[in-house]
Symmetry: C2
Subunit: 306 residues, 2 copies
């Protein structure tokens, strides 16, 4: 069976933002509304509680409460849930909850506090998490984001994990921003689903047989990303990728999370959209207007947000 034939997640995934309430707690209702809006905008699925969703700024209880609420909706089959914490017991608890609500998979950061740890140590953390969850239904995506974790995820380590848990360790989100790293991982592990961490690599990822992208900036660029995903084998695909890359570059240049939240506040009229949890800092109005003008000049018409 090829990757294209199985029923695993493929296509364009937004690493979804989490709107906050006045007290900076996750606004669960607004979050569910945002996920639905992203799917309406053309996303194939949602990364819930990833880096862009400020997951690590929420307590375990806040994350579990959001997952419980999502469990009451039609959304879980479309969700890959970020569950990787510094503490293995927390990763286990969140992964079990993701399974319980019927999420399509879990996206697992390596424990990211200690630096300079060995492959054996990272292997141990993933293995301990998988063994403690102890459920063959678990579909685990390794989350490689070296700019945040300052940890490498070597091909040897990935290969060891796939070999030990072939039915569980099914893919990886590569947010290195380094095309050579993405291409090397796709080439090294046929049938293992390496998602590009940015839509700027969507076309080359698909051309190499990869499944798609999981990306922060898809929160605002879902229609453009979905169009490229639909037409990637057509003649105009290169031009669509070029425009998408230009927009992504502008949007991702600095502070993408506060930037996208500020733009969604501007679009939707909901001022709370602009709120972020520390250590992130909200954009001010002048910064937001400058960014919106720059994107408009590049031809981006932002859809009215939920």
């Amino acid at each position: 069976m090829t990757a294209a034939q199985n029923n695993r997640p493929r296509g364009v995934f937004a690493a979804a933002l989490t709107p906050l309430k006045d007290d900076l707690s996750p606004d669960i209702e607004a979050t569910i509304g945002h996920y639905r809006w992203l799917l309406d905008q053309g996303c194939d699925g949602i990364v819930c509680l990833g880096t862009t969703g400020e997951a690590n700024s929420f307590s375990l209880d806040e994350r579990l409460a959001l997952l419980d609420a999502l469990g009451e909706t039609e959304l879980p089959a479309k969700l890959v849930v970020g569950t990787g914490c510094c503490a293995v017991p927390d990763s286990v608890r969140l992964s079990q909850k993701a399974l319980e609500i019927g999420a399509a998979g879990v996206l697992v950061l390596p424990p990211f506090y200690y630096k300079g740890v060995s492959d054996d140590g990272l292997y141990g953390a993933y293995a301990e998490t998988i063994e403690r969850v102890g459920d063959p239904a678990l579909k685990l995506y390794i989350y490689h984001f070296p700019k945040m974790t300052a940890l490498d995820m070597s091909l040897e380590l990935i290969g060891r994990l796939i070999a030990a848990y072939p039915d569980t360790v099914v893919g990886l989100k590569n947010s290195s921003g380094d095309w050579d790293s993405i291409a090397a991982m796709i080439a090294a592990f046929p049938g293992f689903d390496v998602f590009a961490g940015s839509e700027e690599f969507l076309l080359p990822t698909l051309e190499l047989g990869g499944p798609g992208c999981m990306s922060a900036t898809v929160n605002l660029l879902a229609p453009q990303s979905a169009e490229l995903y639909a037409k990637w084998q057509d003649a105009g695909a290169e031009a669509l990728q070029e425009h998408l890359t230009a927009l992504r570059t502008t949007l991702g240049r600095s502070a993408p999370i506060p930037s996208m939240k500020a733009l969604l506040a501007r679009q939707s009229g909901h001022a709370n959209w602009a709120k972020v949890r520390p250590p992130l800092v909200a954009l001010d109005t002048a910064q937001t207007e400058r960014l919106a003008a720059e994107l408009a000049a590049q031809g981006l018409e932002l859809a009215a947000a939920a």
Copy 2:
């Protein structure tokens, strides 16, 4: 009132190891025993649940359970408790628990997942934590460990926090390993207690008016560190510092946490002492014997461990 005249923590603090049980959960009874042994060995106090204590590898509940148990002992007045997490609500909960049991202070990492965050963002995280705890009894030590957090703690940021919360933000643990950084912080903020993060800087820290050190390797070098602290104004202080630095260098050269745990297992006969949580990896017997031999050659007689 000078720093020497107030009753704030001073002297030699071990950033204490946390012994584990077979299931890798914290062995609370053994941890309490280790803290008492460290005080018997000459420590003035204990950093509980810091980096060396593998705190970030424990769930919030595991940490709260240890603090509750410590609250039933005579130890809290000797404790500075690591409470800094990525999520502000977790830092708040742990800091409140530390206050509840009567700990001398809390040691607070900046939220360490996001990188490249601004001073405003880090300020916001500390301010939000302090405001939510909302207790004037809170004595907060900033925890500066750039090798782990990949975050800077600028003099300007520290100054803003001291100015905003002068009765709360009372000190800092500087684990940069960079003497110039420690010296600059001591010089910049008179009356603010900048602890060196290593006993290799104990003498120069005291000479500049600093309060002492909080260090991982004091788990094995407490008597030598305590002797230097007692005699730092004596003629032989330089020689004591040189020997202490040599031992610390050997012990801290690679994987200090597994190394010290392995040596304590060897000393005490309790094999569980060697256990670490992933992503750390335990030393094997050959590595342990090599290290013990090297330390013995440098004149280290390890005291029988608890």
